[in-house]
Amino acid sequence: MKTVESALHKIQVVDVTKRFDADALGLPPVLDRITLDVAENEFLVLLGRSGCGKTTLLNIIAGLERASSGSVRVDAAAVSRPGGGKGMVFQQGALFPWLTAQQNVEFAARNRGVPAAERRALAQELLALVGLAGAEAKYPFELSGGMQQRVAIARALALDPHILLMDEPFGALDELTRIEMQNELLRVWAARRKTVVFVTHSISEALVLADRIVVLAPRPGRIVLERRIDLPRPRRRTDARLLALYDDIWGALQ
């Protein structure tokens, strides 16, 4: 039965608690016994206010931070370190400023041993996929915030990851660019199916993107609501069913 379960659950978060050292003073934990499964190729959104521990949870799944107790499994194997097919996109892009867009994407491919010629072709293909054909030779400082995030997505895809972890990737963008990027991400995701865990504090962003929304509340960080959204994409932001969900979620966040 174990094999069936791991096929269903790409990521398993079991009883994860996280305390920081400073919390020894009796403060509630950042994350309190979180249990959560993510199915293969599911688009899961972690939604919550600042300080609810959603980024911490993402970092623990990524292997960048350790849980104080509990465990995270990917394909039934415990996560102990970053990498290994878990691509990540950060809020501010985290591109290497000394590398061009092309070189940034190639950097990711290089570490998994893709030969130089293939790397070049792969990077061009991925940059084209995120709508940046022609910008290969640009340095990050020459790109707008939205374009930087496109490069960051292309770079994460160059790892050929099976999981894509996204930490408020559009949080620093203006509203219009943000909507564009959400559509872009869905387009890219349709072309390259991955299991996605996406962190945000925007309810409308969650509604447009997610197969399932998990709402976290702070102090102690815990799951207060879970909603599946079975509507086809692209979704109209003004769809009545989404608006009803919006109220549900807003209620849970109060």
């Binding site: 970053p82 990498g83 990540m88 950060f90 985290a94 400023p97 000394w98 570490n111 340095y139 400082f141």
Partner: protein
């Protein structure tokens, strides 16, 4: 393009006004010539220093040459040692903890207070001068290199780790390039220190060099020579700093220059 124009024009106008006021103040008798020789006299003195030299026979170029040589020897020796050492200390936390108090102390010692010691250790020849310049540059460069590595944006390291970057490449391909701009800034500051130390370092046992020229002039109340020497050192330091900046822009074309300008 407009901006370029202003970048050149404004300083020229400001300096021109200062010089004119200075000259006028001198002509009108508001400034004493011994204290503030007028620009016209400084130009004459400069001409004399180039043609005849001071003390007799040692021309300005000779002073300049020897000073540049001393600064560059001390400076590059300091940088060559400080870079690898600083990279190691910045990267390995234990090394940083171990060395931090020593570096903080050595950095705080005013370089010229070591002058008597430098003479005892290295004599009054070239070695003691180069040592003093090197000492001043070294600690500044070292602490800047350490800071450059420690202040590398942690999100870059995290991003690299999510891409399965091994520890060696994490250093050579991420931390090192990320630290370069701050290292360049450190190199510029260190050079400035070299120029501050040089006059003092050339006070001992020599009549060659711009510092020695200034000290010699002092003995005979040749304020004009002191000032010319001062300006030549300033111009030299400025020229080298501009050169370093050019080199930096060439080597690190990925830096946001507009952002750099406003900082």
């Amino acid at each position: 393009m407009m901006r370029r124009w202003r970048d050149v024009l404004y300083p020229v106008v400001v300096i021109g006004v200062i010089l004119a006021a200075w000259q006028a103040g001198s002509e009108l008798g508001w400034l004493r010539r011994v204290q503030f020789p007028p620009p016209s006299q400084l130009v004459q003195t400069l001409y004399q220093l180039v043609q005849e030299g001071y003390p007799e026979g040692i021309r300005l170029w000779a002073h300049l040459g020897i000073t540049v040589e001393r600064i560059l020897l001390g400076y590059f020796a300091a940088i060559a040692i400080a870079i690898p050492l600083g990279l190691a200390i910045g990267w390995f936390r234990t090394l940083d903890h171990l060395t931090e108090p020593v570096i903080a102390f050595c950095r705080s010692v005013a370089t010229l207070s070591l002058l008597p010691l430098a003479i005892v250790w290295f004599g009054t020849g070239e070695a003691s001068k180069i040592f003093l310049i090197g000492y001043g540059c070294f600690w500044v460069m070292l602490s800047n290199v350490i800071a450059a590595v420690k202040l590398v944006d942690p999100v870059l390291i995290r991003a690299a780790r999510t891409m399965d970057t091994d520890r060696l490449r994490l250093f050579t391909r991420v931390a090192l390039p990320a630290a370069l701009p701050r290292m360049f800034a450190g190199a510029r500051v260190a050079l400035g220190v070299g120029f501050m130390v040089i006059v003092g370092a050339e006070m001992i046992g020599t009549i060659h060099g711009l510092g020695a020229l200034i000290m010699e002039a002092r003995t005979f109340y040749r304020t004009d020579i002191t000032m010319v020497g001062m300006f030549v050192i300033g111009a030299l330091g400025f020229a080298i700093a501009v050169g370093l900046r050019r080199l930096e822009m060439r080597l690190l074309p990925w830096q946001d220059r507009e952002a750099g300008r406003s900082q």
